[in-house]
Amino acid sequence: MKNITYSVLAVLGIWISTTGCQTKDVTPDSFRNDLLKKTTGPAVVGDRIEFAYALGTTEGDLQNVKAEATIAGAKGTGFSGYSWYTNRNTGVDQPVQTATDTVTNGTVSSAKIIDVATNKAVTLRYYYYPGEDAKGKDVSFRFSGTSSTGKEVSYQSPTYRISRMDMKRSLALVDGAKAYVSIADMAVYTKAEVEQNNLANKIDFVYIYRATLGTGNYAFGHAIVAPSNADYLKDVTLPTGLTKSRTAIDKRVDVKDAQLRGTTGFDVYIDDLDLQQTTFPNAADYAYGFAADQGAFVKTADGAYAAYVYVNSVNNGSKSMTISIKRLKLN
């Protein structure tokens, strides 16, 4: 019995040692595709999600590409007709046209590959701009490509949640002029506009610039102040009937949101969760001393909105500040 077991084991060992390490002779598919999501931040209305869809063939020519979203995108959604390569002399990415007839119709975007004799493998950019109706919903994409041999390849993306946040970039504030900011409207008004349009109960904070303040002439600078704060607004002639709402304002210096900043290189993003979960215990009704890239979490007095106000730039000479806002409706 023992001898039989040894014999079986020996045969098994020889078989495994001779066949186990053999590599299978796999013939690669002649037509393949792949997908990369380039955007790392949240999908916010007003911004876009960027994909790089690559396909290549060793048989025949590439013909068409197609992307089908589960929710139709807003204006701008579709393929770009350009691929990119890095110029080895300059290190700068250069576009080269590889597709034409880039069309988006409803949920479906398509493009036709050009110069098919040489473009045997291309990577096209697909941009998806979430629309208002997609807020809070999940969206996914099915990319596909066809070749002249009649073959088709496809790639199903994962599901992505579209943010419920609203985003507004580059609101120009000027001390004593365009200084009254409404989070509900995501807009800035003058005193006259507030009075004429009956916006006195919609102003969440006022922008002021004072180089110094206090008896000791202490540095103060660029500030946002809730209407409830009489100390810092005592020299400001406020719009008639302005509601003295106490907006909670919590300053930050290290939250450089890449989407509000509008530039790459900062992979920090305010997401829905940040605005949902930010608490404001004993928060001030003002923030001062702002410099570019700083900001403040803000919660409106009625608790309806939480927002992050990002400072894009400040100008002491013109007493002005440019801000961008991400806002989430809480109730």
Partner: protein, 131 residues
């Protein structure tokens, strides 16, 4: 003669072994209770909501005799929401824990406890605001 030396050697070795196995006592936070009885604060600071100091440089005074800390916060500081932290002598601890958002409109009390947990000194921290 040789056997006595061997016995001595192993005896010392056993003693070292026994001593090295002795457990150092720890407190309820898992911190080592040591033999040090020094008990004082060496540094104090307050951070604003942006996690930057709000104190005016050079204005913080720690009196280890009177057990007081006085500091001046910059004009405009929201003194109701600041986060304190401090340094203490080696092995000492502070009660209650610092590093949480605290309202400093009124003086706050913190007790420094020595490394041997036998000496306790309560400091009163008073922060005034530039007007």
């Amino acid at each position: 003669m040789k056997s006595i030396a061997v016995y001595k050697f192993f005896g010392i070795l056993a003693l070292i072994g026994l001593l090295s196995c002795g457990k150092e006592p720890i407190d309820e936070s898992g911190l080592l209770i040591t033999g040090r009885n020094q008990c004082f604060m060496t540094f104090f600071d307050l951070l604003g909501s942006d996690h930057r100091t709000v104190l005016v440089s050079g204005q913080t005074v720690i009196d280890t005799t009177a057990l007081t800390v006085t500091a001046v916060a910059r004009f405009g500081t929201n003194i109701q929401r600041v986060k304190p932290y401090c340094s203490v002598v080696t092995d000492a601890i502070v009660e209650p824990t610092m590093g949480i958002w605290t309202d400093y409109t009124q003086p706050q009390k913190y007790t420094v406890v020595s490394g041997n947990r036998q000496v306790r000194k309560t400091y009163t921290v008073t922060v005034t605001l530039q007007k």
